[in-house]
């Protein structure tokens, strides 16, 4: 049986890993390669690197650190940040990334999703979605890497999720912005509703604070993977302990 995935997320800015609360006020938490090594050794199932300012600055991630990460680690990793063309995607994948994740550029140009899937296969194409609650419904936000540039879109989250799947996305990472960085648990209701309309893998992001939050997001929302940053960076939760405990809770996990 396929294991549920535990995925540390490394927000990258200026070549270092940073972490903010509710997408603001970022502080440096460490070196990219050091953290990638540490998480690999601790049993992370996959890593995600977000160059959080690339999209709002209108530039793409540089590939030199992608190559350095690919040389060092032997687990899959995904790279996100301002990827707007087939050529940019190709250079990142050929540098050794296993998947690329696009967020704001997919909203700018939805045709990019299908073009990437046709060229590299759906399994390489992850769509990141920043979703914020407003008056009882959820809506997609754009350019969340920079609070001064963040803006609303016309998309309801559930409609956008269906749209990206129809266009050939291979996986969705749903960032529940209301929960981000506050450690009160994943947004189980929203994730369950998104799970219900997707036939591709769904990764939960935003809100992890305790081991129980991970168990619940797998058990209640049925997601394929759970992504978290601050609880891992601060060692508030250690991945080996988390995985051993989840196994006692009958969650299929790779040890």
């Amino acid at each position: 049986m396929l294991a549920r995935r535990i995925i540390p997320c490394l927000d990258v800015r200026g070549g270092q890993v940073v972490k903010g609360v509710r997408f603001r006020d970022h502080v440096v938490v460490g070196d990219i390669i050091e953290l990638a090594r540490r998480y690999r050794d601790e049993g992370a199932d996959e890593l995600v690197f977000y160059d959080i300012t690339a999209s709002s600055d209108g530039r793409t991630v540089s590939t030199d650190w992608v190559t350095r990460v690919a040389r060092v680690i032997d687990i899959p990793f995904c790279v996100a940040g301002g990827i707007r063309s087939l050529d940019e995607a190709r250079s990142i994948l050929h540098s050794g990334a296993d998947k690329i994740s696009i967020n704001s550029p997919a909203l700018e140009n939805p045709d990019l999703i299908g073009a990437l899937a046709a060229e590299f296969g759906s399994q390489c194409v992850v769509i990141g979605i920043d979703s914020l609650e407003d008056s009882g419904d959820y809506f997609v936000k754009q350019y969340t890497g920079d609070p001064t540039k963040t803006r609303s879109t016309r998309w309801r989250t559930l409609d956008w999720v269906r749209e990206v799947q129809r266009r050939g996305a291979g996986e969705v990472v749903l960032n529940c912005m209301n929960q981000d960085g506050v450690r009160r648990g994943y947004d189980l209701a929203q994730l369950s509703s998104v799970r219900a309309v997707l036939t591709i893998p769904l990764i939960a992001s935003g809100g992890a604070g305790t081991p129980e939050h991970f168990r619940d997001v797998f058990r209640v929302a049925g997601v394929d993977g759970a992504l978290a940053a601050s609880v891992f960076h601060t060692a508030a939760i250690r991945i080996p302990d988390l995985k051993a405990w989840l196994r006692t809770q009958q969650i299929p996990i790779r040890l």
């Binding site: 396929l2 549920r4 190559t67 690919a70 032997d74 994948l93 050794g96 060229e119 997707l198």
Partner: protein, 196 residues
């Protein structure tokens, strides 16, 4: 010398780096002479079957790969191309193994692509699979898969059972990504490097 067929797919750098970590430099090449002369050959591949075959045809490598006699390992799409046909397209593939690669079907709780760490069930013992426990997991990421047949060394299950590791003579194939499967993947690559 180990040749990595530069089929233009996306996981080529990962395969090369995985071999470097094992102290075995692989030569990325599209030169049929170099490939024919190599002690071992790896045929990586990520992307669609049609694109994969087109790249082999453009580089004039179809006959070269068909006639290899040394230990050869197809990875992911590289394994699927060893079969007769892929439903992806559909596309005529190399025809070195019997059968048609089909799309995995999704159902409640079974998402496609099959993405993540899964276990194997050994169907036939092989040196390629030595040293693994029953709960050893490998990293899979694919939407199409090959059927079980007499050449299946190990199967995996995602909705239904499919061929995860195959062998016919000198030709081996793995549906998962050993270059991205942690210590287990490194062990599988070492097993491949030790094949005679």
């Amino acid at each position: 010398m180990l040749a990595i067929v530069d089929s233009g797919g996306a996981n080529i750098a990962s395969v090369k780096f995985a071999l470097e970590r094992l102290g075995v430099p692989g030569e990325l090449t599209t030169d049929p002479e170099v490939i024919r002369a190599a002690e071992r050959v790896i045929l990586p591949g990520v992307g669609s079957a049609a694109e994969g075959m087109k790249r082999l045809q453009q580089r004039g490598l179809v006959d070269c790969v068909r006639n290899l006699r040394q230990p050869t390992l197809g990875i992911c799409l590289g394994m699927q191309l060893l079969f007769e046909e892929s439903a992806e397209g559909p596309t005529r593939t190399l025809g070195l193994l019997p059968g048609r690669v089909a799309r995995l079907s999704n159902s409640p709780g079974i998402q496609v692509p099959h993405m993540g760490w899964n276990t194997l069930r050994v169907e036939r013992a092989s040196p390629l699979l030595s040293g693994f426990a029953g709960d050893t997991r490998f990293y899979f990421v694919h939407s199409f898969a090959a059927p079980l047949n007499e050449f299946t060394l190990a199967s995996a299950e995602h909705g239904s059972r499919f061929a995860a590791v195959v062998q016919r003579g000198n030709l081996y194939g793995v549906q998962f990504h050993p270059e991205r499967s942690g210590a287990a993947g490194a062990q599988l690559l070492r097993n491949f490097l030790a094949l005679t």
